[in-house]
Structure formats: C-alpha cells, structure tokens
Subunit: 240 residues, 2 copies
Amino acid sequence: MPNPSAAMLVIGDEILSGRTRDANMHFLAQELTKVGIDLKEVRVVSDDHDAIVLALNALRKTFHTVITSGGIGPTHDDITADCVAAAFGVGIDVRDDARALLQAYYDSRGTEFNEARKRMARIPDGAALIENPVSIAPGFSIENVHVMAGVPSVFQAMVASVLPTLTGGAPILSQTFRVERGEGDVAGPLAEIAKAFPDLSFGSYPYQLNGAYGSNVVVRGSDGARVDAAMTRLSEVFAV
Amino acid sequence: MPNPSAAMLVIGDEILSGRTRDANMHFLAQELTKVGIDLKEVRVVSDDHDAIVLALNALRKTFHTVITSGGIGPTHDDITADCVAAAFGVGIDVRDDARALLQAYYDSRGTEFNEARKRMARIPDGAALIENPVSIAPGFSIENVHVMAGVPSVFQAMVASVLPTLTGGAPILSQTFRVERGEGDVAGPLAEIAKAFPDLSFGSYPYQLNGAYGSNVVVRGSDGARVDAAMTRLSEVFAV
C-alpha cells in the first residue's frame, strides 16, 4: 500500500517577492519523510483571496493531508483563515476559546488585546485549534487541512502538535552511495539497477569537488533489507 | 497596467523528500522582482510524468511566463523534457545542434559521449535552446515556458540568459520601516494607511530582538514618490 500523501500550501507575498526565503517547506519535507507520509506537492501563492481558495480546494481534494503556512497574524494582509472558511463554505467568527487564550496571554503581559489581535481568534466553524506554545495565537485543523503560522519557530511547534495525529506510513529509509564519476557515466548502469529494484527509488545528484565530477546515488525505500541489497549491487557495479 | 506575471515549477523528489533544500525559488523571486515581473505562484512536484504535465499545463495557461527547474540531466529520473513535449503535444528527439554542442564538449574533455549523455540533447520540436555556460547541456524555451537545470549554478546562468528576452514591467521599489512594537499594535494603524495608498502593497513582518517584539513594515510599489510618501506617513503615525 502506498504511503499517505500530503501537500503544503505556503501563503505569502514576501516569499514570492524574494524578500524572505521560505524555511518551512524544507523542515516539513523532512518531518513528513520521517513518519512515512509522502509530500507530493507544494504550492506557494500570494496573499490573494482567490488564489488561496483555488489552491486549497485543489490540494485538499487530491491529497490525504494539507498543511498551510502563513497569513494568520493580526495585520490586514493576514487573510488565510477567511480563505479557508470560504474554501470549505463555512462561517467564520471570533471564537470564545481562542479569544480566552489570547486574552489571558495579553493580560499577563500587560498588553492591550485590541481589535487587530482579536482577528487572530477568528476560527472557521467546525475547526479544532492547534496549540501555539510560542506566541499563543492558535492555528486550526478543519477536515484534512491544518492551518499554521509562517514564522518558522511557530510553524515548527505546530507541526510537532499535529504530526502525531496523522496516520503515517512505513518510514522511508535512505542510503547514499558515492560514485567518483560524472552522472553521464553513472546514468546507464543506474537505470539498469533501478529496473531490477522497482520497489525502491533511485536518485542521482551530481557534485563537483576540486574540479572532479561525482554523483551521489540516493536509494530510498521502506524495506531496509531491499535498500541494503541495492547498496550491495551499486558497490559491485561501480567498483573502481 | 499590472506587471507581467510569472510562475515557477520546481521538479524533483529530492526537494519533496527533504534531502535537498531548494535554492532556486528564492533566487528567481529576487531576479524577477528586479525587472518588474510578478512571480505569482510556485509549484513543487515530484519526478512523476502526470504531475509534471498537469502542473505545467495549468501554469502556462494562467501566467505570462513559466520557468521550470530540475530534471534535465542524463539519468533515468530526468524526465522533464519528455513531459514538456507531452504537455505541448509535440514530438521530441535528439537534436543536431544540441548534440553537436555536447559532442564538442565531451571530446574536449576526453569523456565518452554515451547514450545517457545523449539524452541531454533531447529537445521538444519547435523549442529554442538556452545556453549553459557552466556544463554545456542546454535548457530550452518553448512558447512561454523556459526549461532550466536544477543545479543552482546552472539555473542562475540560464536565468541570466533568458531574463533579457522577457518583457518586464515597472521595477518594484521597496522600503522598510521598522517599528519597535508588536504586530498587534501596528496592524490597526497600518490597515488605515494601506487603504490610503491603494496603489502600494504593505507587508508587516514581526521580529523578536532581545526579548522585545517589533515589526518591519515593507512598502512596495512602482512609483518611488508614492513609496516615499507612504514612508513619511508611517513615520508620522508610528512616531514614538
């Protein structure tokens, strides 16, 4: 049985304008791989209502799980929660439990819980809150969509809350075999080996070191014995 | 008139598995912004024929320009060129000019120009080659789609070749105003200012420094005088 699939939706003009370099995609990819969930697609869209709704509806209908990052802060360009409600066709309003969390937090800091901050308690109807131990303002889950903050420390904490609730598959094991030859020399024999191990995936990643070309061949699969067998075969074929 | 739009398609299992952190998206975002082309969407898909064709057809019909990265090397998992041909419904074969480039390069290095390396001369019918000064194997352009390598040094060189051929818009200028208050305090007044400058975009990006919260407000627009006016307004509103 194939592993469960996931997609990620990154929301934010700052990524697409090049102002900010996204860090959440790489983090999420590694975390999902560890628990045997295959990240199959990532989309990055701007802070645009229609673009967010369109992408979210496409992804949530195609993949088992969708994780979003960005656009849930207090400012006028934080429109993710409203877009998620629109995508699901449900209502959205300030919710008591989210408001209580934020009220207690700002009271304890002596900070005014103003209208802008109350926006962060707007939660689509039927969603469950995702805990935010870093800065309290919660994310939320609705059906197979998990809505998280874009700030990396908060995103990472929310991923840690949600991952144990997802159904994982067989964790993917990987081993790397280094060949001190260019990809063009590796490609032919590697294709033959890949055919002989159809249950594994083989990637080849070129590198250049001190002017010499080489290739890192990465073998990935859920059966450790098969990965070992492929590594043995690689060492036979590419023995110098 | 709005600026021309662009999308990027990143192709590669190694990004989605978390093995490699993509560097090309951030580079391209910055380059496009400099020439006034708005990067509106990025998709990352795996080395899967149907996923690549589907994403490519969606993006090329929606945006003025599409730039792809990855999957044009010599190994069995390098299937981008074939997928592009399939998406456009055109044939693909080894092409004489691309073969001649590669032949001369490998001859000069005393390297065998084998079957795997010949795969890199497979070019969809009707495409124009994109020069690769780093490792010779060319990219190609077909209609509004520009197909480039995933290796960052090669991707960057190919972007440098193609960018001058694209129709740019008004370069986007940006200035940053730093407010030593949390986003929740900035959000209300900032929304008012954003309403007063509908031709500009305002982003707010929180930071934390020595335990204190602050916000970087980024003002972006193509008219420098208007950006300056917004900065003046910000300094009036957020004067301590």
